[in-house]
Every structure is written in structure tokens, then in C-alpha cells.
Amino acid sequence: MTAYIVKRILLVIPVLFGVSILAFLMSHLVPGDPVVVMLGDRATAEDAARLREELGFNDPLVVQYGRYMTGVVQGDLGTSIRSGQPVLEEIRDRFPSTLILTLCAVVAASVVGVSLGVAAAISKRGWVDGSIMAFALLGISVPTFWSGILLILLLGVKLEWLPIVGTGPAALVMPTIVLAAPAAAVLARMTRSTMLEVLGVDFVRSARAKGLKEQVVILRHVLRNALIPVVTIIGLQFGGLLAGSVIVESVFTRPGLGRYTITAIQSRDFPQIQGIVLVVAALYVFVNLAIDLLYAVIDPRIRYN
């Protein structure tokens, strides 16, 4: 077990290293010159050339990458070209907002999704099953930017129940709904199918044959086993939700990483782009590592070697 954990953690290093190279290449391949973006419509040729030299953009890419990574291992993600602030600080400022939204969405999606999935599985082929699955399908079928604006018009303008802007808990409701809906739908479908799968397995049949109450069978035997793949999906969704926040944060103007990402790409702010990719990738990798390890708790059958 310990060996397995150590091995998994060590594997994270090459992955993050690869991500950093990819991020670096990507941000330099994107056409558009951050200096030009910075200087905007008052740029003269001399200004641009001087600034470019100063920012070190005339060095070979390898040199620039080396310089960047030397900083990264010392916990320095560089300085934003646009704002002049350290990227790490900027990300730290914005991270809580995205994290809170993502966690709310993950929790909401898990609770709603798993309960709906269980309910659907129990009433398999019944009308409950049918309507839950129809609802779940709707959840994954609507583009988030559309449902987001519809929600603003309905809950914000028409009914005036919820604030349209702001950072308080009330302002969190609409973005959470929009972000969680597709994830809840995926989880409901996943839970339902794994539940059905487990329900058909021998040990459940024998448990039933032994005359255990249906609730006990469902809770103790079925749900526990059915949750294993569901936990994996929650982990994958976590990554998906971070990505989803790009659009949702634009629609609801939340001061998080998603919005920061768009601005970073638009202004070709290399240090910002690279910093975001590294941080999001690291988060994703560690969440999934944690989930893999969590298996050990839920499913004692998994062996680590």
C-alpha cells in the first residue's frame, strides 16, 4: 500500500513536467504579441522593440523555458506582463472563488445526482425512473451560457429572487445550478447504471435470498459497490467543472480563475497562461490521486502492487 502511494505520487512529477512544457510551448505558439496588446493603439515601433527586449522575448525559447522553470521550482510563477503583479499572487486571489463554486457544484451535483440515480435504479423502468432520466438528459443537453442567461432573466430580473452580481452566498446560487446541472445529470445516469449492474450480481441475489430487508440490501451491498465508479466520475467531473467555470464565470462575472484564463489568453500574457495551466493541472492530478487512494477505503478488493 505505501509503495503504491509513493509510486503514484512519483508519477505525478513527470505528468506535471509534461504539462509545463506543453503550456509553455502553447502560450508561445499562440499568434499575437503581448507587447502589442499591452501598448495598444498608441504603440510606436520603438516602444514595442524596447519592451520586447526588456521582457526577454528575444532569447531562444529553451532559455526562456529554463528561466521560467527555475522560478517555478522555487515557487515563483513569474510576473504578469499586463498587470505587473506576481502570477502566483493573482492566482491565489482568484482561486478561492473558483474553488468555492466548484466545490458547491460538486457537492450539489453529487447529492442530487446520486440520489436521483438511486431513486431511478430502484424504480427501474417505472415512471419515476423515466422522469428522472428525462430530467437528467435535459441537464446535459443545454449549453451552459444559454441556461445561465435564461436563469438571470428568470430569477434575477423577472422574479428578483437572487442578485445578478456580487460575491455573497446568494449570488452563488445561480452559477452553482448552471454548473452542477450537467454534472448531476452525468452522475445520475452513472449511479443508475452501476446500481442496476450490482443489483444483478450474485451476492446481492444471495443477500436477498437470505431474507434481508430490501433497504438493507440496497444500502449495505448495492450502493457501496455502485459508488466506486461513481467516485471516479466525481473526480473526472471535478476537472470538467474547473473547465466549465470558464464559461459560467463569464456569464455570472465571478472573480475566479475561469475569467482570468480568458483575459490571459486574450492579452497573450504568457506567465499568466502558464501559471493557470500548471495550477489547474496540479489540482486535477492531486484530486484524482486522492480519489484513487480513496478506493482503498471503499473497495477492499482493490489490491495495490
Partner: protein, 298 residues
């Protein structure tokens, strides 16, 4: 962008019993007994027919601009007109061509590249396997939408580049699935038998492996097409999708969002079209999964 949920542990032991030629026929027969899947299939078929016949059935040129701007639905314009006076119905009809093409081509890219990598990894083992899986890990860890935005930014925004971006973004899921299934099938008696009889590796892959790992990949791809249609719509919202005046549903929805208050028809019809297609693909995919995945049996 939500990645399509695929069962992480495909188990296909029983498929071989039916023989790999038999399963297709068997599957079609079973599919007919599932109303939800049939409804899904019918809707998909409907949109495919609409897409193919678009030039014949569209009442107007989808790009013909007029001064009859934002006219409500009427007998002349069943779905109304948009902000440039174009017929929304015609644009939705032609939009079916674009959106289906985006979905199919991007997933075809992911399916081909992903399966190839997955099968190679499973067969080669050793460092090749390690390398491919690490690359897959890197791709999975890389924030998908950022990758897509960057690819579109590098190649320039166009519907074609959106297909490539969404395709590349989806590769890892197929690599993993293909690898896992191949590993399972590889260990089965008849494959081991074929190997010991000295069969050529390509022949083994073509004849024994591919047909037997196809099921989970097909299921994944069906749902994946839906996901990539949504992803393309999201990129259009960010201004990185289809170029004007192309009638792509996501782009139509995005430019209609400023008129939601006054001209509901502009957003509603392309929005409903996206919903219907995505819904249908998911229904159909569910049906396929139920049939092709032998674990779920009554």
C-alpha cells in the same frame, strides 16, 4: 466542458461467446425492443435527413440578409427572422449540417487516434505503454477548454479548427478505454490461442481485438458526439467558433442572447435543436450501452 462519462472498467468477457459477427445483428434486434433508444435513433435519423436535404427543404437562403429584421414567427417565416433579417428556420436546417459535421468529425478524430494509441499501448507494453499512458495523463490533466481555446487561437477560429480542437481534447478518453478493453481481450483464451498458432499481430488486432473492443468505444463515441456539439457551441459563445455568416447552432444561440428579452424565437429554435440532438444521442447511447455491455442484464 463536461467530459462524456464512460464506464471506467469495461468488461467484455461474454461478448466472445456470441462470436464477433453475431453481436451486431443481435444488437440491432435488441435495440428495437427499447423505445427510448428507438426514439433517440429516430430523432438522429431525422436530423441527418434534414442535414442532407437542407438545400431542398429550406424555405430560403440561410444567408440572405433583408431589412425585415427580428420578425416574429409567421406563415412566411415559421421560426421568425434574426437580427439581420435572415430566415431562422432555414438557418436551423442548414445548421444541422454544420453541427452534425462538427460532432462526427471531431469524434472520428478522437476515436481513430485514441483507439490506435490505446491498442498500441496495450499490445506493446513496456516503455511504449508507459509513454503513451503518461502522455494521456498529461492531456487529461491539461485543462480541456484551455487546450481547445489555445488550439483555436493558434490555428485561427473556423469551424474546421474547432473540430480539430474538440477532437484532440477528447483523445485521452478513447485511449484509456481502448487500452483497458484490449488488455482484457488480449488475455482471453482464443486470442492467446491465435497467438500461439503463430498468427500475425496485425491480423490478431484486426480480426480478434478490434471487433471485440468496438462496443465500449461506440458507446463512448455516441455520447461523445453530443459532448462535442455542446463544446463547439461553447467555443462559439467565446467567439472562437464558426465564422459569420455560417449558420452554426451555437453561434446562432450566442448572437441571439442579446435579444432574449424582445425576440425569443431567435435563441429558442437553435437552442431546442441543440437540445434535441444531444438528447437523442444520449438516449441512443444509453440503449447501445445496455445492449452491448453484458453486465447489465435482467
Amino acid at each position: 466542458m463536461i467530459r462524456a462519462a464512460a464506464s471506467p472498467r469495461p468488461q467484455l468477457e461474454n461478448l466472445n461467446a456470441a462470436g464477433h459477427r453475431g453481436w451486431f445483428r443481435q444488437a440491432t434486434r435488441k435495440l428495437r425492443r427499447r423505445p427510448a433508444a428507438m426514439i433517440g435513433g429516430t430523432i438522429i435519423l431525422f436530423f441527418i435527413v434534414v442535414a442532407v436535404l437542407a438545400p431542398l427543404i429550406a424555405p430560403a437562403d440561410p444567408n440572405e440578409i433583408s431589412t425585415n429584421r427580428r420578425a416574429a414567427p409567421s406563415l412566411d417565416h415559421w421560426f421568425g427572422t434574426d437580427e439581420l433579417g435572415r430566415d431562422v428556420l432555414s438557418r436551423v436546417i442548414f445548421g444541422a449540417q454544420i453541427s452534425l459535421r462538427v460532432g462526427l468529425i471531431s469524434i472520428a478524430i478522437a476515436l481513430v487516434v485514441g483507439s490506435l494509441l490505446g491498442v498500441t499501448a496495450a499490445f506493446a507494453g513496456g516503455w511504449v505503454d508507459g509513454l503513451i499512458m503518461r502522455l494521456t495523463d498529461i492531456m487529461l490533466a491539461f485543462p480541456g477548454i484551455l487546450l481547445a481555446i489555445a488550439i483555436v487561437a493558434i490555428l485561427g477560429p473556423s469551424i474546421f479548427n474547432v473540430m480539430i480542437a474538440v477532437g484532440i481534447e477528447s483523445i485521452p478518453a478513447y485511449t484509456r478505454t481502448a487500452r483497458a478493453s484490449t488488455l482484457t481481450v488480449k488475455g482471453l483464451d482464443y486470442v492467446v490461442g491465435a497467438q500461439s498458432l503463430g498468427a500475425v499481430r496485425t491480423r490478431i488486432v484486426l480480426r480478434h481485438i478490434l471487433p471485440n473492443i468496438a462496443a465500449p468505444l461506440i458507446v463512448l463515441a455516441t455520447v461523445g458526439v453530443a459532448g462535442s456539439i455542446l463544446a463547439a457551441a461553447g467555443l462559439s459563445y467565446l467567439g472562437l467558433g464558426a465564422q459569420a455568416p455560417t449558420a452554426e447552432w451555437g453561434a446562432m444561440l450566442s448572437s441571439a442572447r442579446t435579444y432574449l428579452r424582445d425576440s425569443w424565437w431567435m435563441a429558442t429554435f437553435p437552442g431546442v435543436a441543440i437540445m434535441l440532438v444531444v438528447l437523442a444521442l444520449n438516449l441512443f447511447g444509453d440503449g447501445l450501452r445496455d445492449i452491448l455491455d453484458p453486465r447489465i442484464r435482467n
